[in-house]
Subunit: 233 residues, 2 copies
DNA sequence: TTTTCTATTGGGGGTTTCCCGTATTTAGGC
DNA sequence: GCCTAAATACGGGAAACCCCCAATAGAAAA
């Protein structure tokens, strides 16, 4: 998975990290982080209030590949309290590292899903006891969810994000053919249906795979369905 | 903020409508409604606190097809204040009807998206002035979003939602292999990964296709993703 | 206990897909 | 007007997939 550091872009740095800082202040959090994912393209873009040392370590060690907060959030609808991750094997790795860099022990990650398969993750952390965290958690979780929706809504509609997390589009013919494939038709069938050569059908399928960054047609069908380009047949 | 454990209550119908009533009471709302959609399967399941007359009218007139709250929410991440829909052409139709049945004029619809393309909509309404509504809105929107996530999470993991459609089950091996196919692996690759023969992989794929009533593997992958047996790779 | 289901492996052979080319048409940029 | 990129279209040959068959073993259900 490739990481796009949005903070290097000129205008956005101040806007979003400042917003994250405001969340911290308002809800007594030590740190906040936002990550926007495009599972199809396999890209992640984020803003954090963590120090640069941790950011560098996180990237250089490829911790994003095993980060349990990200894996958990990909399947979950509800907010994920980090205490629920403690039994995960990868948890030890990432969180011990984090602790060494002086990062807080208690945290929560809130997933937000958009209509194009995009996922936004807002995480907030605080160094405190479990009891203290529980009290704080129930008090601020509602507002944090609003904030998560708000920041994700802003990020995905901004220019820098759409260019960073490119959302593929298929041509009319490509989508049409992929739709027939999802309906269980063979290339020969589709050629007959559309009155073109099955060779041509294959070409459109190939370009569809390329646009979706898919290695095989089944993978392309899965991704196209996941981001709403076609419907399961 | 307290969360009612829905699983302790016996019957689903009363369970969810009772939960909606509690939301109304807590936040001074007149009515609340939840709709769970599976756009890929084209199914909608809902619970409302509206009267039966309006429910019957809504269904018999097919208002669900033109309901602007549903259309808006399909493309939106953020909550949709019904005042933003007033310029929609279909708005007039649905909301004039609603008004005739004595339904409130102010409302909000909160969309929640799950990992399988499923969408949950929580709506809350109140009959009051615009100023009153604005004040109430900003005060309760955070908690309403939490409630929306909570109820949708419960509904999609409940039996009645999944069993609404015929739901084939795959064996562990079948799902495992289909997941690898969705990730773009060939049969030979999967055989190497799982340390089994590629012939065995093919057998499992065949039975997967049969169980899913799919003619081809791409179709099987699409259906498996649509009903949540695997995730897009 | 018998039966059924799942998981496993293999052969033979037809079908389908996929990668390599080429070619025409169309839309958009300089 | 020219050029480039994308969309559309077609074919040969190699690789992968899929369907028929048979067979073994363990686990679960009847």
């Amino acid at each position: 998975m490739e990481i796009v550091d949005l903070s290097t872009l000129p205008d956005s740095e101040t806007r979003y990290t400042e917003f994250l800082r405001q969340i911290c202040e308002k809800h007594d959090m030590d740190h906040a982080a936002y990550a926007g994912m495009n599972p199809t393209a396999g890209t992640v873009a984020g803003y954090v209030t963590y120090g640069d040392e941790w950011k560098d370590h996180y990237q250089s060690q490829g911790l994003i590949m095993i980060d349990p907060t990200i894996h958990m959030s990909r399947r979950s609808i509800a907010p994920v309290d980090w205490s629920r991750l403690e039994r995960s094997p990868d948890f030890q790795r990432v969180f011990r590292d984090a602790h060494d860099f002086g990062l807080p022990s208690q945290g929560v990650t809130i997933p937000v899903r958009g209509p194009y398969g995009d996922i936004g993750l807002l995480s907030a952390t605080r160094d405190c006891s479990k009891e203290e965290w529980r009290k704080l958690y129930t008090h601020v979780i509602g507002d944090l969810q609003s904030m998560a929706v708000h920041i994700h809504d802003n990020v995905v509609t901004s220019d820098e994000f759409t260019s960073a997390l490119y959302h593929p589009t298929l041509s009319t013919r490509e989508a049409e053919i992929l739709q027939w494939v999802a309906a269980g038709k063979s290339q020969q069938d589709i050629g007959d249906i559309l009155s073109i050569s099955h060779r041509t059908v294959e070409v459109h399928l190939r370009s569809s795979r390329e646009k979706l960054s898919a290695l095989t047609t089944p993978q392309a069908v899965g991704r196209a369905i996941a981001i709403g380009l076609i419907t399961p047949g």
